[in-house]
Symmetry: C2
Subunit: 245 residues, 2 copies
């Protein structure tokens, strides 16, 4: 039987989602260990988004093949008791036998949280990027418009593959401003390695008037990573939702 799991985690102390050979502490590794312990044999899971070290998830999706589980809700509770308090399985449900959390995902939503100047807060310190200066949100919105659509995002990616396509469809970048925060909400078909963080770093440079709105178009056209902004820190990034048809 194939099961679909929705998982929330605080990525602060993990080396990212993906299991690694070198026994690094990862979210996938923790969940596989919990499942293996409960099932009495080794279990592997597939996650929809391979979040980096320090990146958080409101609702990561993974799927796992298991022999039939009688009481899914009870299994969920048992797994949560075994898991550390910064990883939580929010839901487990039956999925079609062919469902694959990553291959069948049709879209993803990520949010990046920027904390406005002079609004440092001890309670959100691990979940945002503290700005040292005021951001020009209107300019950031202009630059964001350029990025919407189907483009080759090679310039906004770390270690772009020469063989695999770096074309993605970016459906929306919404800038949501509150008294203390600016949240960048990215919706798209899929994202390349570090893409959301490099897009964020570049838009922040626009907001700080360190680069022009037009320079963003130049990164797209040239495909040169060196022309884009810095990679924003991991701690401000959240995988918010994975979409399926």
């Amino acid at each position: 039987m194939n099961y679909r799991m929705v998982i929330q985690y605080d990525g602060t102390r993990y080396r990212g989602w993906q299991r690694q050979g070198n026994r690094a502490d990862t979210v996938q590794g923790r969940i596989e260990r919990a499942l293996s312990k409960r099932c009495g044999h080794e279990v592997e899971i597939d996650g929809a988004g391979r979040t980096d070290a320090g990146v958080h998830a409101m609702a990561q999706v993974a799927n796992v093949h298991l022999s039939e589980v009688r009481d899914v809700e009870r299994m969920r509770q048992e797994l949560n008791e075994y898991l550390p308090r910064d990883i939580r399985i929010l839901k487990i449900e039956e999925a079609g036998e062919r469902f694959h959390s990553r291959l069948h995902a049709t879209g993803k939503i990520y949010e990046y949280h920027l904390l406005k100047k002079d609004n440092y807060c001890v309670f959100t310190r691990q979940y945002c990027w503290q700005m040292e200066d005021t951001l020009d949100v209107a300019q950031m919105r202009e630059a964001a418009k350029i990025l919407i659509g189907r483009h080759d995002f090679r310039g906004f990616c770390t270690k772009a593959s020469k063989k695999k396509s770096t074309v993605r469809r970016l459906d929306a970048i919404n800038l949501i401003e509150s008294e203390t925060e600016i949240t960048l909400r990215f919706e798209g078909s899929g994202f390349l390695y570090n893409m959301v963080r490099i897009l964020t770093g570049t838009l922040v440079e626009v907001g700080l008037h360190k680069r022009s709105v037009e320079s963003v178009a130049e990164v797209l056209q040239s495909g040169e990573r060196a022309r884009a902004g810095e990679t924003a820190p991991a701690q401000g990034l959240f995988l918010v939702r994975v979409k399926y048809d």
Copy 2:
């Protein structure tokens, strides 16, 4: 010169506000160490509220006597660089020579955060108390009404003094309900040791129908701690504001 400081802290890893002789890690101890380092001699500060181990503060107030500081904002920044990231000095300003943060406080506001059943969230896990069942908020509001006013709160206090008065004036208990949380907001002249946590624990028992609304009046009348509810966990409690005339 006497300076007034406003301080925010995440109390998770501290043994409370108050300096202790046994080298326990406390917020007051951390700030005094930072100030002493900067001033080159031992400095002591006075805080308005002696928050317990694990309790947080949005805006604790303290005062400190120092020889005149030329650039107060610069001192604030230097202290923050030296302090750990879970303690932040939000403001430093000159105060009247006789100002005392605790003795001159005319009121305090505390908030207690309850997380509703099935709303566990990894991002707020250190800042709320997770409820295992649904709360009857209407009944909690009825019970809260009984507590408002000037009363002897001896029954809602740990280790009540026989010599010092346990009479306090409670101005308001507001229950603010959101989709996922219930926040209890307490405003009063001052609070006894553990008083907000015992009030919260008692109101939660009312909300769970483990005790009647009337039983709350009985605690007030008898003054017996054993008749009140359990002390709510420290991690859900925040000192929100200290008031002065």
